[in-house]
């Protein structure tokens, strides 16, 4: 019993510590067109709250190492909602390899290596087939360093 208690306490301790290592935030935005001071049409990103079918939304994940040690093997995984269609080529993540899953997150690969079978015919996977997107950091996230990951999706 004592050993079990010790393990539970250790696990709890680790969880508590984990919450203070990285600060991870997600925002969702959409494009808005406006007339700038020069009278020209320009677009900017604004917070997305209400979205219409066909509209494009942008998800941005920022992750900052707020601990005093460097974090390695950092992987950010974002499940793509069923009603959203990933926009091909929209994934951005400086210092990361971007990979996708078409099988609900069981396996990941780069976009060009993925295939799907539709109506018995094999074809290259496209954005609309992706169930997850993930960013695999190539290097450590040093203490105090911050990374950004972004992708766009269209509401069906």
């Amino acid at each position: 019993m004592k050993i079990l208690t010790a393990i539970i306490l250790a696990t709890l301790a680790v969880s508590a510590a984990a919450e203070t290592h990285l600060d991870v935030r997600t925002t969702v935005q959409k494009e808005e067109t406006f007339i700038n001071d020069a009278g020209e049409q320009q677009t900017r990103l604004v917070a997305a709250d209400i979205v219409v079918p066909g509209e494009k939304v942008f998800y941005t994940i920022t992750f900052r190492n707020i601990s005093e040690e460097s974090a390695d093997n950092v992987v950010i995984t974002n499940p793509i909602a069923a009603d959203l269609l990933y926009v091909d080529g929209s994934g951005i993540g400086p210092g990361t390899d971007i990979q996708f899953s078409v099988d609900g997150g069981k396996t990941f690969a780069s976009a060009e290596d993925l295939v799907v079978i539709e109506d018995g015919v094999e074809r290259a996977a496209e954005g609309r087939d992706f169930t997850h997107v993930r960013w695999v950091m190539k290097n450590d996230l040093e203490a105090g360093a911050e990374g950004t990951a972004r992708f766009a999706a269209i509401l069906e």
């Binding site: 290592h21 991870v24 997600t26 209400i50 219409v52 066909g54 994940i61 992750f63 974002n78 396996t107």
Partner: protein, 338 residues
């Protein structure tokens, strides 16, 4: 299965083989053709895994939420082909379908306009002039319910359609060949405006409604064609047997005489006579005449031919635009009994 365990095969080939085990990954979701249902809440949470001082750890980001607004769109489609009518006809119907191509329920106001420029006559809307094709028959009958604006405006769910009839009378002053048009317009009650216009909180469940690419209104135009020329056609036959008599025996020649006459005002434009050879007979070559003038069997510049393209031989004679003043047109041809 790690690539490192088999040095003979490059890593990317393993990944590709792994991908081949993935079957049919088309999303299942709540979207209809009109888009995701209004009011759907879409959440997003990112997960992060990392090692710190050798310990594997995991975290989640905050969860973002977006709500699907209503997009207003409508399409009106003409279902009837050009409808043939006569002068003084009453209650002639044109069939349309109105489809809610938006993603939420919407009520539509219907309107008829029969005073369209560019046609030969204005159909006269009956009273009432708009009906639902209640029995789904495609034509106008006693089972169809009339439409009254503001009373029974149709409410359609996303991707839902309703069949609508426009009913008009045909004036007495039209002549054969005149075209009259009638337009049905459907307009979303929540709002119709420049695409992108937002009607705050006016969508299903109180979310915003946004006008889609159709502007929230759609119309289609149906057409009546006056086709009421009266043509009298009479066919007679005479028999000549090989023995100088009139017995219809094998070898006997049948001579068919067909008279065609316009018996009313108006023009029968591009009239064509077609008469199939009886199955028990064979066509006598070069026996077709029009008003006494010989017509060759071949398809050439003259007014007729024998047409074998459908399997049955058919005598075809083009009579052109006929009026009452052209008088009787006579076509003669012969066959022999097999």
């Amino acid at each position: 299965m790690k690539a490192a365990s088999n040095l003979l095969v490059p890593a990317f080939v393993w990944m590709r083989r792994l991908s081949l085990l993935i079957f049919c990954c088309v999303h299942s979701n709540t979207a209809v053709g009109a888009g995701v249902a209004v009011g759907t809440v879409i959440e997003n949470t990112a997960n992060i895994t990392y090692d710190l001082a050798g310990t594997p750890l995991a975290l989640q980001s905050n969860t973002t939420t977006i709500v699907v607004a209503e997009r207003i769109n409508v399409v009106t489609t003409l279902q009837s082909s050009q409808t043939l009518v006569s002068a003084n006809d009453s209650a002639r119907a044109l069939l349309f379908a109105i489809t809610n191509t938006g993603n939420g329920s919407e009520t539509f106001l219907l309107a008829i306009d029969s005073n369209i420029a560019g046609d030969d006559f204005d159909p006269v809307p009956s009273t009432p002039s708009i009906y639902f094709d209640t029995d789904g028959s495609g034509d106008f009958n006693a089972a169809d319910q009339s439409y009254t604006p503001g009373v029974n405006d149709p409410n359609l769910g996303a991707d839902e359609s309703v069949a609508v009839l426009l009913v008009n009378d045909i004036p007495g002053t039209v002549v054969n060949g005149n075209i009259g048009r009638s337009r049905l317009t459907a307009t979303a009650v929540t709002g119709s405006d420049v695409p992108g216009t937002v009607f705050a909180n006016q969508g299903d469940g109180g979310v915003n409604a946004v006008v889609g690419a159709t502007g929230g209104t759609a119309s289609a135009v149906g057409e009546y064609l006056v086709s009421d020329v009266l043509i009298n056609v009479v066919k007679a036959q005479s028999v000549a047997d090989p023995f100088g008599g009139t017995e219809p025996v094998p070898g006997a020649t049948l001579t068919y005489t067909i008279t065609i006459e316009v018996a009313s005002a108006g023009t029968a434009t591009a009239s064509v006579l077609r008469d199939a050879i009886p199955t028990f007979s064979s066509f006598v070559a070069n026996s077709i005449t029009l008003n006494g003038v010989a017509i060759s069997d071949a398809t050439d510049a003259d007014a007729g031919e024998i047409d074998s393209s459908s399997g049955t031989q058919t005598v075809v004679v083009r009579l052109g635009d006929l009026t009452q003043s052209d008088g009787v047109q006579t076509v003669v041809f012969q066959v022999t009994i097999d």
